[in-house]
């Protein structure tokens, strides 16, 4: 096999990108943490990580002049992995602290986890901790996880979450996984073509999380191969 695929981890100033970077390296990817437009658009794959507030993150992405380039390369087929706030940024808009426009790569909104309860007991928001991911019940036949970064994960596998908001895509077909918190069932994974994004942190979810990076790396490799032989 040739060189390691190069992935750009988009740095917009917040959060711990070290663990994302380590997980990429673990998956055999050549990872660079960057906010440089050229480095992002020329990469074989893009990780859009995120911790912090939606509005601030979008403002920074615009200030770095990354919003339009990100949309362009995703349309051209570059695999993108969104993590935590990264999945939310793909949506059309968010209601976090007012109303904010997102990257609008997936039609949908970001809403607050509203009064989760387990029996008598009110659950905390943010949700912090391990929770299971499940296949969505949806109309189309076939296993949605096959050919996605979740291929090989077991139904109900625990992943690590830290969030107060969740995404609501308009098209149910883009929902890759769902998760239950108290009485709330929310979308914890999104997939549309070359876009894969998760509300949880695979890089903090032990071996099962690392396997998601591994599967994503294989998707990048198979695409690079396809191009090379075309």
């Amino acid at each position: 096999m040739g060189r390691s695929p190069r992935v750009a981890i988009v740095d917009y100033g917040l959060g711990n990108l070290y663990s994302v970077s380590r997980a990429c390296v673990h998956a055999g990817l050549d990872a660079v943490v960057t906010s440089d437009r050229q480095a992002v658009t020329s990469a074989d794959g893009i990780v859009l990580p995120g911790v912090g507030a939606f509005g601030d993150a979008m403002a920074t992405i615009r200030k770095l002049d990354l919003a339009e380039p990100l949309r362009d390369v995703v349309r051209q087929g570059t695999p993108l992995l969104g993590i935590c706030l990264g999945v939310q940024l793909l949506m059309s808009r968010s209601e976090e602290f007012g109303d904010h426009e997102g990257l609008d790569l997936v039609k949908g909104t970001v809403v607050r986890l509203k009064d989760p309860r387990e029996g008598e007991r009110a659950l905390k928001v943010p949700e912090v901790g391990w929770n299971g991911i499940h296949r969505p019940r949806r109309g189309s036949p076939g296993d949605p996880w096959v050919g996605s970064p979740l291929e090989g994960r077991s139904e109900g596998q625990s992943m690590y979450f830290v969030h107060s908001y969740c995404v609501q895509p308009e098209d149910p077909e883009v929902i890759l996984s769902v998760t239950r918190y108290g009485q709330i069932e929310y979308c914890s994974g999104v997939r549309r073509g070359n876009l894969s994004a998760f509300q949880f942190h695979p890089e903090r979810s032990g071996a099962a999380g690392l396997a998601i990076y591994g599967a994503w790396a294989r998707l990048i490799r198979s695409r690079s191969h396809g191009e090379a032989s075309a």
Binding site: L14, V51, K124, V125, G129, A207
Partner: protein, 290 residues
């Protein structure tokens, strides 16, 4: 909801230590070795607490954090002696996912707001270390339990959340290392009144104490130290020569045990919680292990 079980590793220089009421620190081994063992046996997160950060340099700790972050892929919280946003940035750069602040936040509460704006609320854990007063209320202490503040722990908890703390860790200094069980009243009084997750810490001597912290204390997560450390020390049969000269390793030479602690392994502890009706993350599949 899965309750998180979080091993807490108190670090002095290059060593993992454990004391009683935060004092009389005994050396138990190398923190990285314990961290790796806990990662492999199902820890949901890890906490590193620098026991003497204000007395020694922090380079040692940053090295330990870096080495740990390279091989464990669960959240790592680091605390002890972090004075400001720059200290926090350093620790996060070294690979920590969250920071725990206590002393500096009580001295200058605005630090909580600054840190949560700079790194996100979910990165900022405020550690409340309290001693029970004769009238039954609780007072927050700083400097690893050495310094009283006159601040009421419950009031401080609410204020810390208002300023942007994403999580609280509530430790009873009275119970720390004693094996007498968590201070359930302290934990409940805070966990049932703040909207963010509360981690109970200090005092677990049996698996049932951990269960009580969740059912009676209403904790969202539990920190465990002696209970797990003494089991691992017993099982792994250290060569004391492996340790740096510094520190009290007498107990380790003799085979550290403390009669008030009925040590358990992480899988045993989680099995006990499940029996008690508390759901936990199950055992880790071994595939793809680094």
């Amino acid at each position: 909801m899965n309750v998180r079980v979080i091993p807490r590793l108190d670090i002095k220089g290059p060593n993992l230590v454990k004391g009683i009421h935060f004092e009389g620190l005994r050396v138990l081994g190398k923190p990285e070795r314990f961290a790796r063992h806990y990662y492999e046996t199902g820890a949901d997160e890890l906490v590193y607490m620098d026991a003497v950060a204000s007395l020694y340099g922090r380079n040692n700790l940053l090295d330990i954090v870096r080495r740990t972050a390279d091989e464990i892929f669960i959240p790592l919280t680091v605390g002890g002696g972090l004075r400001g946003v720059e200290d926090i940035r350093q620790v996060l750069r070294a690979g920590a996912d969250k920071v725990s602040i206590n002393t500096a936040a009580l001295q200058r509460p605005e630090l909580i707001r600054e840190a949560s704006l700079a790194f996100g609320s979910s990165t900022v854990l405020v550690s409340i270390e309290a001693i029970r007063r004769p009238d039954g209320s609780y007072e927050a202490y700083t400097d690893y339990g050495r310094q009283s503040t006159g601040v009421d722990a419950k009031d401080w908890a609410r204020k810390a959340v208002d300023l942007g703390a994403g999580e609280l860790m509530v430790t009873s200094i009275d119970r720390d290392g004693t094996g007498q069980g968590y201070d359930l009243e302290l934990v409940r009084s805070i966990a049932s009144t703040v909207p963010v997750p509360v981690i109970a810490a200090g005092g677990a001597g049996t698996a049932d104490h951990v269960l009580q912290a969740i059912t009676e204390g209403r904790a969202d997560a539990v920190c465990v130290a002696s209970l797990l450390h003494y089991r691992f020390v017993r099982e792994c049969r250290y060569d004391p020569g492996e340790f740096a000269e510094e520190g009290n390793i007498e107990s380790l030479r003799k085979g550290a045990r403390y009669s008030k602690i009925s040590d358990v392994s992480l899988p045993e502890l989680k099995a006990r919680l499940e029996e008690g009706g508390i759901s936990c993350r199950g055992p880790l599949p071994q595939e793809g292990r680094p």
